[in-house]
Symmetry: C2
């Protein structure tokens, strides 16, 4: 297909497509004449991935380039490619509160107890330690007592997420699902948690039912 | 206590304390002489709440004023006060993708099926609808198939959260826990979800164990 068809098929403007080619995100089309190139389905898929990473994942051009480099390295395992995608959308924590050493130990202990196979260099380890140190710093260290409920919930969500990612046959498509699912999934989780809070509060404080099931639905 | 002691007890600078009094966030001290005022433990608690709302919750002065107004209205139920605190830290979604009507119906259906006692005006309803509409808009509407796993996880977390909030006897303190716990709890949830992803990916793609428990701990 010509660049105009590629643009219509993906909703990406022609100058933007040319920009992605110049920046090395999208392979150039096959030249069919000195100033005309032909594109195929692999370009459509790649453009969708680029836009998913940028629009939903909020990735910069250089972050997209890194993710695509992992996708395009033939001997990388799926686990490594998914890890690279995850890494690109996990910014390092902006603050370093006091008490980070104790908080990091606590995170290491949680990971050990859970049997989670994660590397301690994973930026989410530091992000979790920052949150725990902040809780302690404001006198709310007892939050750690309910941390296992959070871990149970996250295992549940991650299991569903991975099964969803695994339904895609191609690595391109899996990477897109990881990025989109991680970013939008966070939003879903935050919104649903607030709804579940409102529900739990209504049950606890409106009629004293406490643990009641069902409701007015 | 004098304002200097109040400042030391809370870590809030004297000019800031005076600013909060002028803005109506903190009740004035009891005048003991024409230019000296006396403060008590209620001021310490209130200052901690103000700082928790601002520093951890990221609330503006006017948002803090609204939350405090709910805290200080004697005939408001605990449920209403917690709801006001929750509302203050839930900004309305910044975007309105196409397909919002269908997404809102889907959220209403979820709420009905779950028996969640929440008002449809809750901003989290709209936030969830935006996320679902975005998934559909990028051709990932099948995310809705795993939405119930998310809802199960959120009920689990919300139950633990509410029990934690309920350990505080005073409404001031409960409100602070709601705000701090909601905001920091989001961070914990996001970080743990990424760790659980890494673990699930390692199990699925590194050794094909799939559903295996345990690990290398």
């Amino acid at each position: 297909m010509r660049i105009g068809e590629l643009s219509r098929a993906t909703g990406v403007a022609i100058p933007t497509i040319k920009y992605y080619v110049r920046e090395g995100l999208l392979p150039a089309g096959r030249l069919t004449s000195p100033n005309q190139a032909s594109y195929d389905d692999s370009h459509v898929r790649r453009l969708r991935l680029i836009r998913g990473l940028m629009d939903v994942g909020g990735l910069s051009v250089s972050a997209v380039r890194e993710v695509l480099a992992a996708v395009d390295t033939p001997d990388e395992s799926v686990h490594k490619v998914l890890g690279a995608a995850q890494l690109a959308i996990t910014p390092p924590p902006a603050v370093t509160p006091d008490g980070m050493e104790a908080a990091r130990s606590k995170v290491a202990e949680l990971i050990r107890q859970r049997g989670w196979r994660v590397e301690m260099e994973n930026p989410a380890v530091e992000a979790l330690a920052v949150a725990l140190a902040t809780f302690r710093g404001i006198g709310r260290g007892e939050f750690e007592e309910i941390m296992d409920d959070y871990a149970d919930a996250c295992e549940r969500v991650a299991g569903a997420d991975l099964a969803w990612v695994g339904r895609n046959a191609e690595v391109d498509s899996m990477v897109e699902t990881v990025v989109v699912g991680t970013v939008l999934g966070d939003t879903v989780l935050m919104a649903m948690r607030r709804l579940a809070h409102a529900d739990a509060s209504a049950r606890t404080y409106e009629d004293g039912q406490g643990e009641g099931e069902g409701g007015e639905g």
